[in-house]
Symmetry: D4
Subunit: 217 residues, 8 copies
């Protein structure tokens, strides 16, 4: 088998060490990549990991823990960034939780303080409105939604901080496996929204941490 | 040229006489069709009509009037249906008005009482919430929106009456000429929504009038 | 695991209590949500439920029953709404029945009287024509069709009442998992049609019940 | 400019001489191609021709005539094929006529007997049913429809002869410039339908003439 | 369970009795439908049938036979139509055979004489050219192709008889599960081609039999 | 004509006053909206404005100026936000400049310091690499690219700050009017990227200003 | 206006100096870019240029010539590369000539020997077969085709040299402005084909010249 | 079962014997085809083969070997082509390796010298830049990339030799199973790129070998 080639300078260039995205890799490739990154950086994340992946990583790397709903393996992550602002992770429906948790766990693994606001979708708009003060107190909001994906538009119209929109693949039929909420979010008439790929909770967290970087305070 | 073949029994079967959809027809075809329907039913609508179409129709049919923003020519329309409920036409943005007016004028032409609530899109959610009582007082609501098209979801979560969702082609880029709000509306997590084609204000009004048919009172 | 957040006011606002859509939720989430809604409203529906979901719900909630073809679990549903009009559920082909039943069972669960007219697709147009009187006697018609999805157009041209069009994912190849009949229904040249998402029998029933609301009689 | 290269053997191989499709060609290319085909075969068709194209062709080829609605220039066409069956060209709406005429004129130019049945779309199904005997008397039917494109399905369920389905670009919004009726026709639950490209009245006629070839009688 | 509703008049109207399309139906629905059609017409086809479906049908209907590659169950089919022309079924690649066989077996079940010409795709054009005489001797050709789907264009340019084009889902990547060859066939620059849905070998045979109807001889 | 309904509280809620998006509005609607916002907030932007729009606005509002390449009319904008970080606007090609300028002018109109780095697309990667220090010195980068849209990926791999990706409609063929670079940006393997709609330079600037809000320093 | 930034090192790195793609640039930008490249490299191409662009360039750069059908302005191009192989440019139809000429003129401008074989599309397969010897004598073939785009498959099955496939936007309806032949070419069952963007004759020529580089002889 | 029809002349015409593409074929068809090609040409490749396919082939053909990551079975392949240039196979990420290996193993099976450069994607651009000398030393480069697919653009801007771009299906969400990188590659602003189908490592190798044909040296 071909050898791995980890981009170790990424942490220095970009603030995050390289992360292991599990799908499409063999268990052996996952363990090898995670071990090499951990050896170099003292911490590593494996995203979209299965319980089976976790068993293999844990056998190699002590202290690995598995965030089941988020499907993330983390080993030896960053200390909290005390003076940084709050990251709110908001989600529209129960079924969007795995992606919301992927975002929340990733952000926490990079030292952020995270507040979760789940089940506040647009079909019961009072639920989001009850949390306006918490939304406005954040440094950045990650808004996760499947179905029609209108939550980021709703939130961005209520606050003056950046909103990261994460469409999810939760839906059916004309949902087109997440393309419908993706389009909704790209066409928002509210300002201040940046969109990431469908189900990309990890990417949303990485962007949120770049925005919330305490070195700018 | 081939002769016209008007479906005169449509009024009896479906409640509405046949309507002339102007695009793709010559001015001569439009005038001929409008005249024949008017002769048979005593009233006629021409939709998506240009001012030039109107000049030609008015030369033939006295009393024709042109609803400029709605792009509709109406001649001799129905008397108000006194005991029927109210149809609310709500629109998200200024640019959605032509389609909203197409719906409103069509419904009025068929005898309905219409209340317009415009510029109440989701980016400033308080605007729609200020009108909750008016929304709840209707028999049926037509909700018109371009961009991300979230207005019908917002409204349907606030009321217990039917909501007819009309996506518009107002937008750009990933809007795909109206496909984005169409998908939004089809994927709504709020219940009680029926969707019509992009920019189809006329069809929304016809459905609203079938729902609001006073013979059911 | 994160706690649930049920929108209990939905029944008051919208006439229907919140419903549990099973796909993408764990069995535990389904039981918890169903139990909480039942405790608050005295009735609950779980849609797209598997037999395994049913076993888990029944263990918790006595009186749960499973509508196999409709894939719906219902517990303690509404009393019949005696003076309301009839809802006809029409379906084009045998394979469309599960979605048609989802619509019919949902409507019945909310107290409606439902008449089923199945296997009346356009390839044998006489079959629908034989039922014109029954179609015309309804307050609202739900027309369910896969393949080319032409049934709603056919029916809407025969009646003066609202028609709710439900495309199904029954087909193959250029059917695009239901997009073909969805487009057919959105482009209908017949008036009075509102379209719901592919396979969304539940949503069609909710819209039909809002139209058929006996409080308007 | 590069010289033309006409496929003169096509008439011998395929029964039809090569035809000039005007769009994307200069007027000079059109005239040169038409002249060369005429010189070789004694007849020629130019399809999708503008009045300006016609002026240029007529200046070169005496006896050219222009079928305005069909947008076809014909010069010196085939004698009627007396013993052959009838080709019925059916069209759903007034706006579909240009494509229906393209089919009808092309078939006539190749010697066929054509009967036109226009404005018999599915929204008023009685209109098609009134013509069942004429439809059944044909050797082959060309069914032209825009909007939802259900006419071929309706007809194919009524007859035992081949039906050639021609979707047109007449529609708007989710019509996708003809893709909606194209998909409808490809997914027909009625048998015996062959589909051609959007607006391809010419191709439908060529297929109809191959089916109706009198040498098989 | 809801009762079946077979369209028994279809044979009289359209020449073919109704056929059972197996996918999306339960084994019980398949057996019930096949039995009822057989009882009425003395013959029946079940398409896209699994071996398990066959076991169930054979237990009910003696004389059922299973065409494995074509995935068709046939019981008691039509006598050969002696004076009719020949139907050639041509296929581009080995992997297209199941669809080609579906077409061939269906045509034979309706009494046609069928000649198979397989593995004659465009990448080795001499293979098709070797069979020009057989292709020209047919009354109608069914051309089946996946990948780029160019076979129907090649054949239609060589003959003067109708060509029915069947795209298959054989391919990967930008093949889009058959949309690529479907588009190829719809855009053919050769005339005389009618296209059916992806993998619709059955529909191609039904159209071929309508064209090849011996009552027109 | 219907009256305007400006969302004046938006400035308070979201930091930006409402902006006038010109396309789809009449000149009269543009002038009325701009005047009302200016009267309330003391500043206003009109985006995608034509020179003709500018003439009309300038006649009403003194001090209006027109940013030709950016197609923006600005009147009385914000004072510079002195302590805030730098916003870099990077663009891949000459033809992407109008969108890049829309972003730059909008950000400047809201008081930001902007540095432009144009013509640094991936086909000559040394051009971007020469500017690594300037890229790393920013608080946030707006990366604008048409064609294959790879610039944001390249930049995000070089820096640890947020990157806002703006796909443009510059391209042809399989570019799909900007969908190709939009997909590129959503699928970036580099982290820290938020994407906005095709050609949405304005939205990118609004998000950049929310990220760069000096009140967080 | 922002200043230009030409990538002068491209010629050294890639063999070709940078080329000016005219669409989306102002006439001033075109002239400025062409002049700067010419000053540096002694030759320049402007592609997709209008006659008006040519007038402006000729006023600035003596010796500019305009290849009308190819829509290319060339100034001071390369000397012929005597020992290199032949590039054959094959085209399916008359309407594909502008793209074929764009490829041929570009290749000639870079010193290649080009042979043109036009109007040899698949509908008359004998036309291509007559040229098999010329096709086999080339070093590389550029195959240009609109409609169904099958020409590259046909050719690649006849030769052992590389084939560059260029889909064109010539077609209508389900042609999707060139996507249909693009998909055809990507799915070819013949080997040895590399595909470029729709209508990208220039890119095909650049690839052909890299393949045909005489420094490898 | 129908008999096979191998195109044995392909080797003579195109340089490669026919290859067996395993998916969609039965194990029996695979073994039969491989055996027949081997008997005729003395070598054969089976692509996309499973271990189970390999077992069956090995039982029949001695000396068969299985390239696991490339999923290729090879038997008795070509001798190295000594004087030919080098083929570089570059890949962006670890998950792209199976396709890169399919290309590399195929090229080696046809006698080429191959150098592999893996894990050099654009998110860490220094990784590709470190290999500029090796890239420039090749005769042709195969660049394999999933996700956003920008690697071929990056490489083509650094070299003057042909680049064959292979998009892979590695990605999720808006990746659309490889369409995103496919579009990226087709829209590259760098010249000299030919694109093959998604995951088509085999086709890339066949094109590379045609370019690298030593008979042209």
């Amino acid at each position: 088998m071909k050898e791995l080639r980890i981009d170790h300078e990424r942490e220095e260039r970009c603030g995050f060490p390289e992360v292991v995205f599990a799908p499409g890799k063999t268990v052996e490739q996952i363990v090898a990549a995670a071990s090499e990154i951990y050896a170099h950086s003292g911490r590593v994340l494996v995203t979209r990991a299965t319980p089976k992946d976790f068993e293999a990583v844990r056998a190699q790397l002590q202290g690995a823990c598995y965030h089941e709903q988020a499907r993330i393996i983390s080993v030896g992550c960053a200390a909290p960034q005390h003076p940084a602002g709050l990251i709110v992770v908001a989600a529209a429906g129960t079924a969007d939780m795995p992606i919301a948790e992927e975002a929340a766990v990733t952000a926490e693994a990079h030292g952020a303080c995270v507040q979760r606001l789940y089940d506040i979708g647009i079909a019961g708009v009072h639920r989001a409105l009850e949390h306006v003060d918490e939304l406005r107190a954040a440094r950045v909001i990650i808004a996760v939604a499947g179905m029609e994906g209108a939550l980021p538009s709703l939130i961005a119209g209520l606050v003056s901080i950046p909103v990261i929109a994460v469409p999810t693949s939760i839906g059916y039929g004309a949902h087109l496996e997440g393309l419908a909420p993706l389009l909704t979010m790209l066409n928002s008439c509210a300002g201040g929204i940046g969109v990431v790929n469908i189900d990309n909770g990890f990417g949303a967290a990485e962007l949120a941490c770049r925005i919330n970087d305490p070195s700018w305070l």
